[in-house]
Symmetry: C2
Subunit: 226 residues, 2 copies
DNA sequence: TAGTGGTCTAGACCACGGT
DNA sequence: CCGTGGTCTAGACCACTAG
C-alpha cells in the first residue's frame, strides 16, 4: 500500500478502498489491513475517518523525529572526555514567564542552576535552569556539584511530558565568555519545558556554540519499508 | 501501564510481566496487551525483545517530533501576506558533496535554484537547492517563476524519505544581503535531503533569519494518555 | 441510517534469542 | 531448549459520521 502511494497509483486526496475490500484483495483479514493502515496513518501518509474512509494526505509539511541525547552521552559518543562544572546554585524567585510555565505561586521560590558541560576541555553546552521545588523537594538537598541537573532529573522523573523550542541566537556577552566564543559566533539554543500530570518540573535553556553543534533527523515515513 | 511507569511503580530497567501474565491481570486477551505495549514501545517508554521480555527504558535522551511546514503555510498562518521570488535558475554541475548525496554521475548536471520567501515584504527564508534531473526530468520544463520549488516537489513527489540537519550559523555576506540581516545576526539553517527508492531527489539549504524564526516540538510520549 | 474505521476476543503458528 | 514477543486468522460489537 505504501508503494501504491509513493508511486502515485494512489494520489494525494484519493479515497482508498475500504478495509473490507483491501482484505479481500490482499487475501488477509481486516485486522491485518487495519494494522497496516494504522502504521501508514502514524507515519502521516494517510488520514482516516470513520464513515468517510481513508485518504492519501496532501503533504504540506515534513514530519520528522529527533532525539536529543543528554550532553554527556553526546560528548562521550564523539570520543571526547566529558567534564561537568556547576557555576551557580541558588533558590530564588523566577522571572514571571518561568513562574507561569512551572505553575508556581506568586512568591514561591524555585531552584536556579547554571552549569557548563565540556568535551575535551572545550565548552559544549551551557545549561541555565529552573527547577520546581514543590514538584521535586529532593532537589533542595542535592548539591549538583558532581552530577548535571539533566541527568539527575532523568533519573528521578523518567518520562515527563516535554516541549521544545529551537532557535538560532546571537550570544549574550555572558554566553560568549562562558562558551569561549569568537565575536559574532551564533548559538544554537534549545529551550525545554517538562511537566508531569500538569505539574511543571523544569524549564531549561541549553545554549550550544553554533560552530560545535548540530541536530539531525530521520524521516518517520521511512522505517515502514523493508 | 503508562501510569505504573510514570509513577515509578515500574522503574527504569525493570522487567515487566509477560503479555500472557498481563492479559490475565487486566482481564483481556494477549492481542490487546500487545497493542498497548507496542504503543508504549513506539513512544519510547519501554523496550521489547523476544525471549528477553519488556523493560522500562532507562531514559538517556528526549525523543521529539517536529513538523516543518512549507514556508508559505507558515507565513500565511501568521496572518502575513506571502510573496515568492525566484533569484536564480540554471543547470550546472553540483559540488562534489551534493553530487554524491543526489547519486549523480561524474559529469551529470543538476538543476540549481535560489529563491526567497517573504512575509509582509520581509525576507523569511532563503531556499538554495539542487534538484536531480534524472529523477525529475519534468523539472527542466518548469520555470519556477510562480511556484516555490518546495511546493512544486511536494506535489510531484508526495512522500519521499527525508533527512534533516539543523544548525545555527553565522550568515554569509550574500545571506546577510538577501535576508536583510543586521551585522552579527545569526541564521537558522535547515539542510534537507530527500530521496525515494534510493534515488536522490533534492538537496536544499533553507536559511532563516535567527531573529524571525523558531522551531517547536511536542513530546511523543504524551498523546498516549487521556 | 448505513457504511466506515476502532477495538476487542479467542486461538494459532512462528522467529528470535537467552539459558 | 523453550519462553518471549511478532504476527496472523476469524469473528464480533460498537462509535462515529457523511450523506
Amino acid at each position: 500500500m505504501q508503494e501504491r502511494i509513493t508511486s502515485q497509483q494512489w494520489q494525494p486526496g484519493d479515497l482508498l478502498p475500504s478495509e473490507q475490500a483491501l482484505s479481500e484483495e490482499f487475501g488477509c483479514t481486516r485486522a491485518t489491513v487495519n494494522r497496516a493502515m494504522r502504521e501508514l496513518s502514524d507515519a502521516g501518509l494517510v488520514e482516516r475517518r470513520r464513515k468517510a474512509g481513508t485518504r492519501v494526505v496532501q503533504p504540506s509539511s515534513h514530519p520528522a523525529t529527533i532525539t536529543i541525547a543528554i550532553i554527556r552521552q553526546e560528548i562521550e559518543n564523539k570520543g571526547q572526555t566529558y567534564k561537568y562544572l556547576l557555576l551557580e546554585r541558588l533558590e530564588a524567585l523566577p522571572p514571571e514567564d518561568v513562574r507561569v510555565q512551572l505553575g508556581l505561586e506568586q512568591n514561591e521560590k524555585a531552584l536556579f542552576l547554571k552549569s557548563l558541560h565540556y568535551g575535551d576541555g572545550i565548552p559544549q553546552q551551557l545549561d541555565v535552569r529552573w527547577i520546581n521545588l514543590s514538584a521535586l523537594p529532593q532537589a533542595a538537598d542535592e548539591s549538583f556539584a558532581d552530577i548535571g541537573p539533566n541527568e539527575w532529573l532523568l533519573q528521578r522523573v523518567p518520562h515527563p511530558n516535554i516541549e521544545h523550542v529551537f532557535r538560532a541566537e546571537k550570544a549574550t556577552a555572558e554566553e560568549q565568555r562562558l562558551l569561549q566564543l569568537q565575536e559574532c559566533e551564533p548559538v544554537f539554543v534549545i529551550e525545554r519545558r517538562t511537566w508531569i500530570l500538569g505539574q511543571g518540573i523544569t524549564y531549561v535553556r541549553l545554549v550550544h556554540p553554533g560552530s560545535r553543534f548540530q541536530m539531525a533527523t530521520r524521516s518517520s515515513a521511512e522505517p515502514i519499508f523493508n
